[in-house]
Amino acid sequence: MALFVFILYGIVIFAYIFFCLFITYHLMKYSLNSELNKIMLITFIVVATLLFVSNLALFFSVDWQALFLKISNLTNF
């Protein structure tokens, strides 16, 4: 079950990185106003990175085995 969660999380993180790259590429390549472009790009990259790092930290802080055990115990009752 834990392996399934890891695979699923891998897909989610891959999608997130993919969309982040897409957004960054668009902001860098197609922006008309260079000043606004810098502000948007910095804001996006900083927040997206913070969210990504915190998400990774939170994912690895969860004891998945214990969690599934707990959930299966709860559903048994």
Binding site: F19, C20, L27, Y30, N33, L51, N55, V62, D63, I71
Partner: protein
């Protein structure tokens, strides 16, 4: 008039000056951002309701899992917010002293760039219909053209009347310049034939 000196677009010609950059009206993006707002309300609401519905989320194991879920949700709200922003911000009409360029962000991986030379403009129509459009002064502007693409559409742009005036003035200016050039050419020819 707003200064567009800091603006530059791919394919801009030398000496070509940007006179107006028009995006869709802010009301258009507001309706899309309502979806993001609903997601944020769901996120905030889940802090209050989920631990009540699932008490184990308040325990040590569940707490970390709950924080992870909330963070993942926030991650996607952030991405959705920027995708909506990109769709709005990169959907743009640029009026220069030579032509009109429409850059259209149709979908995530679909982008269309079309342009119209001022001399190809045949007719301009503006349409502001409905209470909200009238109240906030935004609407559509259609340009009938003599080129391959018969109709050029400015969709939900703010103050379409101002844009129409600007385009018509530019067109008149260009026609005058062409006439002057033609007159000068004729004068030269007549002068040349006389002597």
């Amino acid at each position: 008039m707003e200064n567009f000196n800091r603006y530059h677009f791919a394919g801009q010609k030398e000496g070509e000056k940007i006179l107006l950059v028009a995006h869709r009206h802010w009301f258009d993006i507001l309706t899309q951002f309502l979806f993001v707002l609903v997601l944020i309300i769901m996120l905030v609401g889940s802090y209050a309701f989920l631990p009540v519905m699932f008490p184990f989320l308040g325990e040590a194991i569940g707490n970390a899992f709950f924080a992870f879920l909330e963070n993942t949700f926030l991650l996607f709200i952030w991405i959705i917010f920027f995708i909506i922003w990109i769709d709005y911000y990169f959907d743009v009409w640029i009026i220069t002293n030579q032509r009109i360029v429409n850059i259209s962000q149709k979908a995530l991986f679909s982008r269309e760039v079309s342009e119209l030379e001022l001399e190809n403009i045949q007719d301009i129509t503006t349409e502001v219909s409905g209470i909200l459009r009238t109240f906030f002064n935004f609407g559509d502007l259609y340009i009938q053209t003599a080129s391959e693409k018969e109709r050029f559409l400015f969709n939900n742009v703010p103050d379409p009347y101002k844009i129409k005036d600007l385009i018509m003035n530019l067109q008149e200016k260009q026609e005058r310049t062409e006439e002057e050039q033609f007159g000068k050419m004729l004068q030269k020819k007549v002068h040349h034939e006389k002597f």
